[in-house]
Amino acid sequence: MSFDTKMLSTRMPREKIKKSKLTSQGITPYLFVFPSFVGVLLFMLIPAIAVLVISLLHWNLLSSPSFAGLSNYTKVFHDPTALHSMLITVYYVLLNIPLQTVLAIILALLLNRRLPGMAIFRALFVIPWLAMPVAVGVVWQWILQPTGMLDSLLQVLHLPQIDWLGTQHWALPAVAMVNIWQWTGYNMLFFLAGLQGIPAYLYEAAELDGASPIRKFFTITLPLLRPTLLFVLITSVIGSFQVFDTVYVMTQGGPGQATNVYNFYIFQEGFQFFHMGFASALSVILFVVILLVTLLQFAYFRNRTTYDLS
């Protein structure tokens, strides 16, 4: 998950300062904003427009670019590898998100019981978030090796051993598992903060009415966690769509095409074969897909009931 998408769900607060308190300071505001503007313009806005332009070109960086019209896009739509990459990336997102989110909510519920030692557990759960994906990818590769740590454990438990990263069927779930390992504790923190924001009187009222714990969870906790849930889902879905580092060190897209996720395919097309136009078209399509998935989630959550406690 990348840091730069993290604020998507955060709403702008109402401007609380009255206009009179804002003062006109001539050129000063522009001086304050200028460095960041250069950064945004050069490294975000212009590249964002440029990727659209480059996607309309044939360009391998060696010869000069030529206009290709929409042919890169038609090529993507007729490219079985691109379709395969998109499908397994969606599969990867689906392997990740439900499990990771449910685990994060469960851990948050447990930590929220304010028993002694909870701060230590909370800290331990956050540690995977700090791990460099490349380094931890290598470590997991070692753990998942045939005759590796996990296999020894399975052997002790008399369970069948699996060549996790060497089997078409298991390689992608194994990479997804690393991602779940890395992000569950991080997402748990948001749910924990959300839980701590739920007023206790709601639960007390529910208890007076004799509500069961399960009923309390579904009628109080979950609806009130909905803004947090939306935030966590949107950021982690966007992040999962862009998986790269762990795939790069653990499988290089293999075995066969089993873990050739979309980002890895863009990387290969763009930076190993220097098909700049084609890779740009792939990038634009990924942007559209991520945008649609994000909007879908917003729409889904808007239609759900929410409580207004203010």
Binding site: S2, F3, D4, T5, K6, M7, L8, T10, R11, P13, K16, I17, K21, T23, Q25, T28, F32, V33, P35, S36, F37, V40, F43, M44, I46, P47, V51, L61, L107, R113, L115, F121, F125, V126, L130, A131, M132, P133, V134, A135, V139, W140, W142, Y186, L189, F190, A193, Y203, E207, P227, I238, F244, D245, Y248, V249, F271, S280, S283, V284, F287
Partner: protein, 275 residues
């Protein structure tokens, strides 16, 4: 919440689940450290612990590739990016939060709109830009795209600045303080928690970054640690004990940072999710 009345076995179950979770959380770190201390003939022996502690693998990693150089590069690049984000980010955020100027709202909307574009989308144009600037294999390429601050950082800081009561600045203004002095002597000291948040998250992101360095650098002189691991894996992939030593070197600095600033880091993550 009123959980104090839970039965003892409920609490025992909770602790059991949490312990399993905690073990899974730190398991890869332990494996990495333990394997890195094993001599080559014990790697496949199936024992969790090495028969004796042996730092030979670290020495091997350190001498067979310039790992020290990679570490210094990563540290340098990360620190410069953090400083840049703090300085340029807080300047811009303060202007957006507290100053009135023409085009402010339009500009801010433009900044926000860039948040919708995932990193990967702009990767190819950025690479071509770096190539045209002649910055491939340079610190400039590693640092430039994020050092002038990012919209997400500016947004985080702006939200915090908006929450500072305007009266404080008003009082300073009546006392004759100029806008730069108010910013430096009042706003920034009040904003330490959010500046720490931005610093921590930027540092972690930058330390662990892989795809961008992979694209813009390929010589030892400018390689960062993540890249060092990948190339070490390529060369010495079967030497698991040495590979684990390399991974441990990459993982440990942030763990030490976490042990030192644990509460601050946890709060920092939570702050990024606040409305």
């Amino acid at each position: 919440m009123s959980h104090a009345r839970s039965a003892w076995w409920v609490n025992a179950l909770i602790y059991a689940v949490l312990c399993v979770g905690a073990c899974i959380s730190i398991f890869p770190y332990l494996i990495s450290i333990l394997t890195s201390l094993k001599p080559a003939n014990e790697v496949y022996a199936g024992h969790l612990f090495p028969s004796h502690v042996d730092f030979k693998n670290y020495l091997e990693v350190w001498t067979s590739v310039p790992f020290g150089r990679y570490l210094l590069n990563t540290l340098f690049v990360s620190v410069v990016i953090v400083l840049g984000q703090l300085i340029f980010g807080s300047l811009a955020a303060y202007a957006f939060a507290r100053m009135r100027f023409m085009g402010r709202n339009v500009l801010f909307m433009i900044y926000l709109s860039t948040l919708m574009v995932p990193n990967i989308v702009t990767l190819i144009p950025l690479f071509i830009l770096m190539k045209d600037l002649g910055w491939i294999n340079s610190y400039a390429a590693l640092i430039a795209p994020t050092v002038l601050s990012t919209p997400v950082g500016i947004f985080l800081l702006r939200q915090f600045f908006l929450g500072i009561p305007g009266d404080i600045e008003e009082a300073a203004r009546i006392d004759g303080a100029g806008v730069v002095r108010i910013f430096l002597q009042i706003i920034l000291p009040l904003s330490r928690p959010i500046l720490a948040t931005l610093a921590i998250i930027t540092f972690v992101t930058s330390w662990n970054n892989f795809l961008w360095p992979l694209i813009v650098t390929n010589t030892d002189q400018y390689k960062v640690v993540s890249l060092g691991i990948a190339s070490f894996q390529l060369q010495y992939g079967a030497e698991w004990n040495e590979l684990m030593a390399a991974a441990t070197i990459a993982l440990l600095p942030l763990i030490i940072l976490f042990i030192l600033f644990q509460k601050q880091i946890i709060r920092s993550i939570q702050l990024t999710g606040l409305k």
